[in-house]
Point group: C2
Chain length 312, copies 2
Amino acid sequence: MATAEARAKELENHHNDCLVQLSNPNIATMKEDVLYHFSLSTSTHNFPAMFGDVKFVCVGGSPSRMNSFINYVAVELGLGRPGDEYPNICAGTDRYAMYKVGPVLSVSHGMGIPSIAIMLHELIKLLYHARCSNVTIIRIGTSGGIGLEPGSVVITRQAVDACFKAEFEQLVLGKRVVRSTDLDEQLVQELLQCSVDLSEFTTVVGNTMCTLDFYEGVLMCLCCRARSSGWCPLLLHGEGQAGLFASCPRCGHQKHRDGIFSLCCHVQYVWPPSGRGVCHPPGPTAGGPDQQPTRGAGRVPTETTAAGGLLH
Amino acid sequence: MATAEARAKELENHHNDCLVQLSNPNIATMKEDVLYHFSLSTSTHNFPAMFGDVKFVCVGGSPSRMNSFINYVAVELGLGRPGDEYPNICAGTDRYAMYKVGPVLSVSHGMGIPSIAIMLHELIKLLYHARCSNVTIIRIGTSGGIGLEPGSVVITRQAVDACFKAEFEQLVLGKRVVRSTDLDEQLVQELLQCSVDLSEFTTVVGNTMCTLDFYEGVLMCLCCRARSSGWCPLLLHGEGQAGLFASCPRCGHQKHRDGIFSLCCHVQYVWPPSGRGVCHPPGPTAGGPDQQPTRGAGRVPTETTAAGGLLH
């Protein structure tokens, strides 16, 4: 709670200092900004009224998971009861789903960096148009993993690419741009403390590999290497790595560009690579593996909100 | 119709020669193959019975668009009436949606290469397990574009990356692998002929740029370059390019790996970059721009099916 109180104090002291900023000055001069993939527009929706109080944005791949998450957080915040229904703010599109309760926004982002990139781009413009301040964004999701028990939660400190480099490479205007993938250390420690307080599942802080191909980039890489060369070469390269996923680096670099208070920290459920030629995650009837990261990530908005008196 | 009849004849002559193949021999030895993101498994679903007659797979980003498409094709094939409902075969997950009518499968793939890559990976395994033969896959969707009237349909001959290179680069086992992005020329010509027969909208054959970032890779690239340097540099590089999108190259390379009869051809609605600092597609209330590509792509399965007597 001490960390949560410190954050709440910080929010109070610097409320107006940490408005969400954009690096593109042209946005401010536009008469209308259409957030197409959210089916929202500044000319048809009142962003400050709808989103001005947002302090936490929790994002994940699956729309139904983000719906479950908003239900969980609503109960934790005392703003709802189990089973309550929340409208999808992006009901006009099937690209993403968005739910809100109190200061928490829950948004789906699909699979892969390009999909989360579109969502983050429009999300940060949404927060800017809504004049939000001191916003924390947390990604929750699932991943493969090595050297950890299935069901462990990984809080990502840094994302690495398919070559284990801690950088996010992007082509902008046809030119190669490399950005940092470091995530917010204070948020990492807060999430870790939440997990210690819960004492319900194993949580580690580690790095997460992110590739552009779930099968050939992440899983086939792991398994084929394991089959052909044993695990050693991968573990040698991968020392300190914990999760393996497909949407990380984009969050890290965004932090440094837009003045978000603490942009992103990944909390991931780890499932193990199988010993067979092809890895596969749990079967279609195995049920959702997302309760642990949901509970872990849900604690930060819950504790900070309670400590900071953010609810009106 | 001549081309459709030729294809139908070819299907008849080589029915058993063109079974869908996989390049990974380990799949054949697995007791169970879980297609996790479809929520389907070879141990819980009878793939040959469910999908053995599939000859055409039409894919697109949006689940609701692919639902509309299956309705359209069902009417065209005489297998359904407008407004009929079709069950989502992937109802156990919210990652993708899948619908089927007669020999046509309609599948959503989300946004971006990683998302379509996961879908294609599992789709081709599905077709393999179902013992399908002579399968044609067509992507339908929307894109930006230059030098074309809004509403034009682009049939993609070749996909190029953010540097205008006609290649798909991937990291497999940590190593750089480059694959071709050429698409099937026969299918390109068939689609073009269908459009000529329809005579309802402008259709061109061209190349399509695909990047990993919808905003900074495609749109911002176009607009910032236009603002800072005029359109000339881009047009110089982009001579012969028509569409600009985010899921192309993956389809091209897959064709050469898995023995699919004709894997993929893109049919895209083009909307223009605006003259402002930031491009944006039609507003959230502008309605769906997808009817033209739907009609164009729908003609291939319709005509071929009718000519080949594929319906039982």
